[in-house]
Symmetry: D2
Subunit: 343 residues, 4 copies
C-alpha cells in the first residue's frame, strides 16, 4: 500500500478524490490537509465518508506530506506552485488538480490567472496528465498537471479528427455545458441554487481560462495552436459535462465511426458509442469515463462530436487517480471500475 496525501480536501474535487481513494485497493490516504478545517474529522464534513475515512484535516505541512509517495493538490489555483518544489525535492511525486502546471508558457499563465508563476522552471518538466495522449510520460513523471474538466472532454473529442488531419484547424468550435459542481464548493451568490437552478446560460464568452489550455493541448498535435471558439454554459444539474464539438471537413473523411473506434481501441476510459448515439451525462455519473459519439449531419461538411464526462471524475479526481496508478506502476484501472449511477 502506497501512502498518499491530499492537500485541500474540502472542495468537490477533494471529497471526490477521498471517495475514490478510500476504496482504492493499492493506496492508503494518510494525510488530508485544510487550513480552514484543521482538526475537523473528514467524515463530519462529508457524511458520505462516515465509516470509510477516519482521518482528520490537518494544517498543510510539507514535512508530513513528504512521507507520502504521492501527493494530490486539490487546492485553488496558485497554491500548489508554492509547495510543489519542496515536495519534489524530498522525492514525493505530485498530481496537481488545479491549473498551476497546465500551461507551458508562464506569461500565458500570468495573463489568464492574474498572478506571476512562482516556479516557472518546473513547467517544462510537468506532464499534462491526459493518459490517452501522454501515457508513457505520465508513468515517468515526478509532476503531473491534471487537465481541466472542459479540456478533457473537448480534447478527447477532437483528437481523432485532428490526428487524422480531417478538419480545418481554424474552424473549431466547442460549445460546452457543465453542471454547477464545476464552480466549486465555496460561498458565492452565483452558484446558489436560487441563482442557477431552473435556468441556463452561457458565461465567459469573451474568454475562459480553459480556452488557452485546450489550444495548447490541441496545438501539440498540430503545427500550432488552432483557432478555437470556446463557449461554456452552466447547466442546472450538479455533475456532468457535455461538449458539442464542430469541425469543418477539409477532405472526404471516410468512415468516421471506424476512425474513432480505432483511435480509442484498448482505452478503457474512453467509450466510442455506436453510430447514431447521443451520450447522456448521467451514463458517466460518478465514473472515470468519457463517452463519445461522432455525427456528420445530413452528410454535410460539418462533423459534430458529442463528448460527455463527469467533471469531477474523468474531469478531475478520477483522472488524477488514473494518473496516480500509472505513476505508481499500478494497474491503470485500479479503483476506477465503478458503474455510472443511472438514474
Amino acid at each position: 500500500m502506497f501512502k498518499v496525501g491530499v492537500v485541500g480536501g474540502t472542495g468537490y474535487t477533494g471529497v471526490e478524490l477521498l471517495r475514490l481513494l478510500a476504496l482504492h485497493p493499492g493506496v492508503a490516504p494518510s494525510v488530508i490537509t485544510s487550513r480552514g478545517e484543521a482538526g475537523t474529522a473528514v467524515s463530519d464534513m462529508f457524511p458520505n465518508l462516515r465509516g470509510h475515512i477516519d482521518l482528520r484535516f490537518t494544517e498543510p505541512d510539507v514535512g508530513r506530506l513528504a512521507e507520502c509517495e504521492l501527493v494530490f493538490f486539490a487546492t485553488p489555483n496558485g497554491t500548489a506552485m508554492k509547495m510543489v518544489p519542496e515536495l519534489l525535492r524530498s522525492g514525493t511525486r505530485v498530481v496537481d488538480l488545479a491549473a498551476d502546471f497546465r500551461l507551458k508558457d508562464p506569461a500565458l499563465w500570468e495573463r489568464w490567472y492574474g498572478m506571476p508563476h512562482e516556479c516557472p522552471d518546473l513547467l517544462p518538466e510537468a506532464v499534462y496528465g491526459l493518459p490517452e495522449m501522454n501515457r508513457a510520460a505520465v508513468a515517468k513523471a515526478r509532476l503531473v498537471a491534471n487537465p481541466g474538466c472542459y479540456p478533457t472532454a473537448v480534447t478527447l473529442g477532437f483528437l481523432p479528427l485532428l490526428e487524422a488531419g480531417l478538419i480545418d484547424a481554424d474552424s473549431l468550435i466547442a460549445d460546452a455545458k457543465s453542471g454547477v459542481s464545476g464552480a466549486g464548493r465555496k460561498a458565492s451568490v452565483n452558484a446558489l441554487m436560487g441563482e442557477c437552478g431552473e435556468s441556463f446560460k452561457a458565461y465567459a464568452v469573451p474568454g475562459h481560462r480553459h480556452q488557452p489550455e485546450i489550444r495548447q493541448v490541441l496545438g501539440s498535435i498540430l503545427a500550432e495552436p488552432p483557432a478555437l471558439t470556446f463557449v461554456p454554459h452552466l447547466v442546472p444539474m450538479i455533475r456532468g459535462i457535455n461538449a458539442t464539438l464542430y469541425g469543418r471537413l477539409t477532405a472526404e473523411p471516410g468512415d468516421l465511426q471506424a476512425l474513432f473506434e480505432a483511435r480509442y481501441r484498448g482505452e478503457y476510459f474512453v467509450d466510442v458509442m455506436p453510430a447514431g448515439s447521443h451520450p447522456e451525462t448521467r451514463s458517466v455519473r460518478g465514473v472515470n469515463q468519457c463517452r463519445l459519439a461522432v455525427h456528420r449531419p445530413q452528410g454535410g461538411e460539418t462533423v459534430v462530436v458529442l463528448s460527455v464526462i463527469d467533471n469531477l471524475v474523468k474531469g478531475a479526481a478520477g483522472q488524477a487517480v488514473q494518473n496516480m496508478n500509472l505513476m505508481l506502476g499500478l494497474e491503470e484501472r485500479l479503483g476506477l471500475e465503478a458503474i455510472g449511477l443511472l438514474p
Copy 2:
C-alpha cells in the same frame, strides 16, 4: 371583447395559452376543446387556473368554434390541417401553434412529418407568425403559422447578421438547448424526471424538424436557404431555450452591438442586452420576450450570438397571443406585459 377558442387545451402550450388569455383584457376564451377530456373542468386539470377559467373542455366542434373570431390550435402536428379549411370558410381566423402550416413545400412537410399534407393549397397563404419579420402580413392574415420554439430563438439571433450580409451563410451553427416542457405533456418514458433530470444530452443530431423550418425562414432573407448545422439539447429544467449561434464573418463587421440595437429598436419583445452580457433563460421565464447578446470572442472571425426565450411563451403561446393581437387590431403588447419570474 373578441370571442376566441382553443382546440387542444390539455398540453403545455394549451395551458399556457389559457393562462395568458384568462387575464387578457381584449378577448374572452369561450371554447376549449379536448377529445379526451370533454366534460372535465379546465381548472380541475390545471389548478393554477382555479378562479380564473370557468370553462369545461368540450368535444371539438367546428360549428361552435366558428362562433369565435379567432381560434388557436394547440394540437399535435397533423390535426389543424383537418379542421382549418372549414373554419376559414366560416370566416374564423386561425393561429396554428403546431407545425402544419410552417413549411411552404408540402413535399418537405411530408418528409419531416411523415404524412401527406391535407390542404396544401392553404400553404401559400399561411403567414409565418414571427411579427419581428412579418408584422404587416400577420395583421392581415386569415391563417398564421406560429413559429416553432427553436426557430424563434435562432431566427431572431441570426437576423441582424444575415440582413447585413456579415456572415457566411454556409457556416451557420445553431447549438440550441431546451427545457423539457418542449417535449409536451404526454405519457412517455423519455421525458420522465427519472430519465431527464440531473442529466444533459444532445438529441436528433442527424436531423430535427426545426432545421428545415429555420432554413426556410432564414432563406427568405437570403437568396437561398443557408447550410445550417442545428444541434438541439435537452436541459434538466422545465422552461427556457438558449440558442448559442455561431457565424463566420465575411467582412469587417463594424459595431455589432449597434447593429443589433438598431435592428430591434422599437421591438417591445426583443431585448438587446448591453455589450458583454450573458442572458439567462430565467430572465424571460413566463414572459413573451427574447433576450439577445452579441459577442466577438477575442476579436476573432467568429461571431457568437446568445438568444434566450421561454419556449412556452415567445416560443409558443405568447407569440400566438402577439399574433392574435395584431390580427384583431389590438395593441400588440396587450396582455403580454408581465415580468419574468426570477428566481
Copy 3:
C-alpha cells in the same frame, strides 16, 4: 398613485416585491435602497426587470424614504428596528418583511434572534399582517409585521380547526418543506446548488425561529400558545412551501370540508380545494395564493391539512402588497391577480 419605497432591494423578497410593484396600478416605487449596490441600476442586477423598473439603488436615507406614503423593509433581521421609529414619526407607514416586529415579547425576540430589540415600545402597536386574521387592524396600522413564510402556511392551515376547537392544542405537528429561495440571496455554502440540489433534509429540528412565531399567532386564538412540534425541511426547488399539518381530534368533527370552505368563503387569496385534493406548490408559483386541502385518513383520529404557498409571494412580497393595499385603502387584490406559472 402612492409613492412607495423599498429598503433592501437586492434579496429575493426584494426583487419579488419590485416585480409586483412595477406592474401595480395604484402605486409607484420611487426609492429602492441598498447600501452595497448604491448606484447600480436595479435592472442590471435583475435583468427580468429591464424595461419595467428604471430606478437605481441608493443609500438608505430616512429623509428620502419619508417622502413615501409607505416603505417596505426587505432587509435582514435587525435592520428595520433601527429606522422604523424615525420613519413613523415622519408619518410614513411601514411594512416590515423581516422578523423585527413579529414577536410581541422582546425577551423572546432577543432569545431567538440574538440581539436586544431597539424599539420594544413599538411592539404592542405593530399589527401581525395576516389579513385573513387581522384585516381590520392591518387597514389602520402604521406598522405591519409581515408574517414569516412558514407561519403563513401553517397558520392558515390550522386556523379553522383551532377556531372550531376540534383538535388537541397539545398535539400539533407541522412538518414543513421549503424551496431554497427561503434561505435568501447571499453568498453561502449551504445554499449552493451543489449542496442542496438533488437532496432532501430536515434542518433546525432542535428549534427554528418560526416556531415561537407560529405559537404566538395560534395562541391568539386559543387561551395560550399551543405545544407545537415544527420541523422544517429543505426541498431541491427554488420556490414553494408545503406544510403538512397533523392534529388529533378531540371531538367528532362533522364535515371538515364544509368547515374549511366556510372559514375561507370570500377570501380571495385562500383556496380550499375540493375534498380529496393534494395541492402542489407549482399551482401557486408566482402568485399570492394559499391552497388548502383537509383530509381525515381512513376516518381515524388524526386530521391532516395540506397547505401550499409560494414562499416569496403569499409568504413574503405578495402578502406585503396585500397589506399595503389594505393600508392605503386600495382594493385588496389590486396588482395581485396573476395566475400561477404551471408548468
Copy 4:
C-alpha cells in the same frame, strides 16, 4: 460464483440491481428477462452498463431461470406470484422486490392491490427481508419478500423506540418524502419532469399501500398493529427517501441517542448519526445505507426521528442483494461497500 437471474430488468430497480450484481464478486448474473425487450442488449438500454454487462434480455422462461441458484423479481406487483411456486419447486430461491409476498393476510393484499393472491399458501413461509429485524430467518428462507422503500425507512426509524416501549403506538406519524424514481420507469404523465420538477406535493393521503405493510411490520414488535398516519410526498429529485417520524413519549425516555446506538451497534447498513444531526438523502446516494438521527425538540413530549435511505438501494435493489448474500451464505456486505455519491 453463484448463478443468479433477474426477472424484469428494465425498470429502475432492475437496472440498479444489475449495477450492483455486475460488480459483485460472489455471483454472476446469467439471465435477465423482459417480455417487451427480449433480444435487446441490456447495455443498449442502459448505457452506464456498457462494458460491464454483456447479456441480452430474454423472454421469461422458468426452465432457464431454474438453473439459477437465486432469482430476483423486479417486476410489477402481481407478476412474481405467478412464477414463484414453480421456481421454488425446482429448488431455486427467490427474492421478490415487488409487493407480492409482503402482506401476510391475502385479504389485505387483495384490498390494497386489487387482485386475488395466486399462491396464498406461500405467504406464511415468505420472510420479510429486513435483515436488521429478521437476519436469521432470511438466511434460511426459500422466499424473501423484499420490503418496500417507505417501510424500510420508517421501520428502521421507529424500531428502537417501539422495542423499548417508549412511545404511544397510537400516535405514530410518518411524514415521508420520496424522489421520483420511486414511481418507476414507465410512460406516465404524472412522473414527467414537466409535472413533478420544481414542485412539491403530498399524495395518497387517504391511503397508500405501504401503510398496511408498515403497520404489519411494526405490529410484529407490538401486541397489535399500531395506528399509523402515513403521508407520502413527492420530491423533485431522482433518488432518496427522507422519513420524518413523530411519536409521543409515554415515559421518561432516558438517553435516546444511546438507545439508538445500542440497537444498531454492529449493523453495517444502519448509521446512527451524532446527536443533533440532520441526515441528507445525498449522503446515501447509490449506497445500501440508512442514516438515522433522533431528536427531542426542546425537551418536549414528541420524539422526532429522521431516517434517510436511497429508495433504489436500501429501499430496493441493495437490500435485495443484502438478503441474497445472507441466503447464499456470503458475507452480508459483499458487493455493497460503495460510498455515497456526494455531491
